[in-house]
Symmetry: C2
Subunit: 352 residues, 2 copies
DNA sequence: CTGTTAGCGCTTTCAT
DNA sequence: ATGAAAGCGCTAACAG
């Protein structure tokens, strides 16, 4: 049973010891060679290298990170819906930056479920991720605060931390929304409807604030009957928009706080137009593919969502490089103060 | 230095031993309690539980999986471009299934770079992922074959394995493309252009085959001058389409092998129409959001891309449950034969 | 330059 | 019902 082929113990992948034995050295020396430690005789080095390739050896990163006391080399990404292009671009941006530090991104899709988000974060912490980048679904962020307390750096994207200190990357929600609504006002609109996400979503309320500010600047007030919050999918948004357009005194323009609502509103407007109804102006937050092809003038608040992810990842890696090892910073240095980055927006006009 | 507060050794997260000490038991007992081993006195159990919550203890999954000899509880997902909705939906489908088995998804975005893909797969293997779901960018799949040889189950999505045995989930590329082209033929088109991905991409050539089959069934031959392969982004596709439409004897219809090409072709057709040119019929593989809103009749080959991911994940988890532990199956049982699943397609018509 | 010892945090024996 | 010892695969820290 214990014959020469014991290198395939368990039929699994070869270990460092297998390599060492085959090369006739100690595990330590093999380890040194494979990590390019210079303190090894060239001849030995070659032997070890040969043994490693012959066996198809791959260092076990799990054992490695356990020994090194570091995290797992993973960054947890917590989002509500990866199918939304906004989140998938964010994910791409995050990943593109963290890979450069030898880290990988673990996706956590919560589907708007707060309990799922809580469990997810707990699990990521248990997995010893090096950090978490999150776009929390709701206003309750205690689970994220807990992660920070346990020494896992958290960076928030597109929402600010609530009740704890953390880095964050925001979009200029207020400014973008104000600019878009101002544009509608410039064009003579006085009754402008608002369609947005549930009030618990930070960006939604912030964009509503910007919308209101633009109205106020023009001496107009927000008419509550023209505000519909709570739609997260295009079909809900279409119904909400249709509701506004069916009012006795309907708005002449709509501003939507995100791409889901804009697309829904577009459908409602097009349907109305098809029935010979009035032309309704449309503006919205978030640029999206084919926005130029809808056959309707459209004003969109654009920003670089890849950059949002990249910036978040940069904040995270910066923090990781400041404080090596979980929890180190909480004791050694007083942990650098949280940083906040705001990604600018611009207005894009798409023609008929 | 070694005073009573040693439970915060390293200032990191508390360990099992910290919990055990606080509860006045051995690490072993603590471990048992936390894994719900019944063999523990209720009183002890309570004490341990209390200590754990007091300390905010979280089992270290890294140490756990090292000890258990299992993988890391991660599934690697290898795709070329997460920003493409096709891939992000796939990712979502994969994740939705694997989380149910307590696994998480690690994303690996290769950006079409073959070397990056090779490195990525090697890294995933080193991280001891429990399995890999991949949509390889090119025809060379030796790195995936190597992963399989090392005992890491691989499932291919949307391309079949080339030169090794693995589970895979395919779309009915041939049938879908044939049906779409047949539809164009039915409508009287005789000169139909083809726009597709680089020839190295399996789906592209398979869809071209389906296209050709439909032409052949109508007694038509593929005119090589009407075939443009190699476009991966909409703007490249738009140029390629414009090229076809500018021929002396231009096609009267275009069939595109994926959503990027369809969108590019749409732009070219719209531009031509805006200049008073002929109306060109358009068909394409992949459904996409707003396809109904382009103001052009459009025939699309639709399929459930979430389901593609879910099916791939199901194949993977099935295999993981068959063979617990890396490499086990290669010895114990002869490893169940690879399975192949084909996701059906349907034709969708979008009106003017 | 190379090897030995020890231990990361956890769990599987095998005692008690 | 509980504990002691050993070890998963790897690598710092010290020998030699």
């Amino acid at each position: 049973m214990l014959d020469g082929t014991e290198q395939y113990r368990k039929g699994g992948q070869p270990t460092l010891r297998d390599v060492a034995e085959r090369a006739g050295v100690s595990a330590m020396t093999a380890s040194r060679v494979l990590r390019d430690d210079p303190q090894v005789l060239p001849a030995t080095r070659e032997r070890v290298r040969a043994a490693a390739t012959a066996l198809g050896y791959r260092p076990n990163e799990v054992a490695r990170s356990l020994r090194l006391g570091r995290g797992s080399g993973l960054v947890g990404l917590v989002v509500t819906n990866l199918a939304n292009p906004f989140y998938s671009r964010l994910a791409l941006g995050v990943d593109s930056v963290v890979v450069k530090d030898g880290l990988k991104t673990v996706i956590g899709n919560t589907g708007q479920d707060l309990d799922a988000e809580r469990d997810l974060v707990a699990d990521l912490v248990a997995r010893r991720v090096d950090g978490i980048i999150a776009v929390p679904a709701g206003a309750d962020q205690r689970h994220l605060a807990a992660a920070v307390a346990e020494g896992v750096p958290v960076v928030l994207a597109s929402r600010p931390p609530e009740g704890f200190a953390a880095d964050c990357v925001l979009v200029d929600d207020f400014g973008g929304a104000r600019a878009a609504t101002a544009r509608l006002v410039e064009r003579g609109h006085r009754r402008i409807g608002f369609l947005g996400s549930p009030p618990a979503v930070y960006t939604g309320t912030e964009r509503l604030r910007g919308h209101a500010a633009a109205l106020a600047a023009a001496g107009l007030a927000v008419d509550d009957r023209l505000v519909r919050q709570g739609q997260t999918a295009p079909d809900e948004a279409a119904r909400a928009a249709a509701g506004l357009l069916a009012l006795r005194d309907p708005p002449t323009a709509l501003f939507c706080s995100n791409n889901r609502n804009t697309i829904g509103a577009f459908r409602a407007i097009r349907a109305l137009r098809a029935r010979g109804g009035a032309d309704i102006a449309l503006a919205g937050f978030d640029d999206f593919e084919l926005a130029d092809a809808l056959g309707l003038p459209l004003t969109l608040v654009a920003y670089d969502s890849d950059e949002l992810g990249r910036a978040a990842a940069r904040l995270l890696t910066a923090r990781l490089n400041t404080a090596t090892g979980p929890g180190t910073a909480t004791r050694r240095s007083p942990m650098p103060p949280p940083r906040q980055i705001v990604v600018p927006t611009s207005l894009v006009e798409y023609g008929e």
